[in-house]
């Protein structure tokens, strides 16, 4: 039993990474209307940012903030120099541009930091034991940080003027424009937010495993799977589906092995697409 609970916990932590990155994807898809393939490499930027910040100050909090800010900046620059100029093009053009941005980011990180794996030097902490189950304090800190980030994102979306306008643009971008809603301020906030959220996912992934220029790209596919399972454009769906996929992957490891667990997220995605094409929390798109 303890074994399974341990798997569940590590599944939830893995799920937070997937859920946060899926949240970033689904926000961009809902508002800027294209699948952003640079999400993975923005995660990597966040992880390296946090690594540097942590090394410089020895504070995980400062490191995390550095990483999140680095991600927000990358998100904004990508919008300002690339996606803004392609806004009137098809979403295929935007997707291809985002793949290009992903490669550029990865190359810059590779040249700057080398390709060897790096780790966060964290003090070893003895896990607490609750019954037979070992609970790592770091996991709780990470979970708390993720919950805070999610709370901030949802508060911005649902409690602030800009969030209201972001949701309006997600519903009907053309109507938003003729209603006097400025696309540039909505997009600026969207990209800052999406960058910071994906960076946070990368930071958690980096702390839990290792940091390398390829890490984000490897995490991109499960993130897309979660965004689709949750219902594309649904922030709540992305997070729930991310947690679901994380847990399913971890719990299945004893049966299918470490190498094949990634396939499960796609199996889950296929089942959801076949049974409930709009995803768990997807909204029905009105015909227009």
């Amino acid at each position: 039993m303890a074994f399974w609970i341990e798997l569940l916990i590590s599944g939830l932590v893995a799920g937070l990474v997937i859920g946060l990155s899926a949240l970033s994807i689904t926000l961009v898809f809902g508002i800027a209307r294209f699948p952003n393939a640079a999400t993975g490499d923005t995660m990597t930027v966040g992880a390296y940012g946090a690594l540097l910040g942590h090394r410089a100050t020895n504070s995980l909090l400062v490191g995390g903030l550095t990483g999140a800010i680095a991600g927000a900046i990358v998100g904004f620059l990508g919008y300002w120099f690339i996606f803004r100029k392609l806004a009137q093009r098809s979403n295929v053009a935007l997707l291809v541009a985002s793949i290009g941005l992903a490669f550029v980011l990865r190359a810059i990180l590779g040249v700057s930091f080398g390709h060897s794996q790096q780790v966060f030097q964290l003090p070893l902490v003895r896990p607490w034991r609750i019954g037979d189950v070992p609970v790592h304090p770091n996991d709780l800190v990470l979970a708390g940080a993720c919950a805070t980030i999610l709370a901030i994102v949802f508060a911005i979306l649902h409690l602030t003027p800009i969030g209201r306008r972001m949701r309006a643009v997600a519903d009907d971008p053309a109507l938003a424009r003729v209603s006097g809603i400025s696309p540039s301020s909505v997009m600026t906030v969207l990209w800052l937010l999406a960058g910071a959220v994906s960076a946070s996912a990368g930071i958690v992934a980096g702390i839990k495993t290792v940091v390398s220029p390829e890490m984000g790209w490897d995490l991109l596919l499960p993130a897309f799977a979660a965004a689709i399972v949750g219902g594309i454009g649904s922030p709540v769906g992305a997070v729930v589906a991310g947690l679901l996929i994380g847990v399913v992957q971890e719990m299945a490891t004893p049966f299918v092995g470490f190498t094949y667990k990634i396939a499960l997220s796609f199996l889950l995605m296929l089942v959801v697409l076949l049974v409930r094409p709009r995803g768990l929390f997807g909204k029905l798109e009105g015909a227009r």
Binding site: A168, V178, S179
Partner: protein, 252 residues
Amino acid sequence: MKLALRDISVRFGGFKAVDGISLAIEPGTLVGIIGPNGAGKSTLFSMVTGFLPHGEGVVSLGEADISRDTPFGRARRGMVRTFQVPREFAHLTVRENLMAAAPGQSGENLIDLFFRPGKVRNEEDAIRREVEETIDFLKLRAVADVSAGRLSGGQKKLLELGRVLMTKPKLILLDEPFAGVNPVLIEELSGHIRALNQRGIGFVIIEHDLSALSRLVSVLHVMDQGKLLASGAPAEVLARKDVREAYLGGAA
């Protein structure tokens, strides 16, 4: 604010949907545009509001040439439109729909949002008061917290008018406000339009319901095949033979 159109043309490939329209809408007037389907009325609206890429000609609002302004720029200058099929922010509540359209929200700027929360809160309070007034004016109180996508067609028409009002317009372009609306609601909408016009808001209304329209407007423009066929007082215009032929297919 006077809206002036000079030699407006819109082409779709080789087809001229709007062909050299010039007209002036005086400030604070109620003006109707009629014409058979495909006459180019909605296309004209779309170009004037920046919804379509600019074709040919000059659109000016007050003293300013707004031909190259963005749609939201034109909305902020005080000219807004509605759509034939009402559109709404389907997943936002009626109240949020109205709030989203209010101008002057410094809360859409992250710096103000986090570092000047007092200012943002005061603006939000002001917007909220205005929204409540609009909700009362349009009698949408019962559905204020319902997702706009779940409203009936008539309620959506009212919400659309409300959302347009929240932008503090000086000129509203209504695209078939009475289409698919029951007679009681037509009277209600007409009443709202008159009341708003009393406050100085100008209206340009595309409509096929000629009786409701001619009771409302003081000037009627007739479009046919992209061109302006006639302009004048409703009774005069509707009595013209060429208008009856174009619009009513010569049946009268």
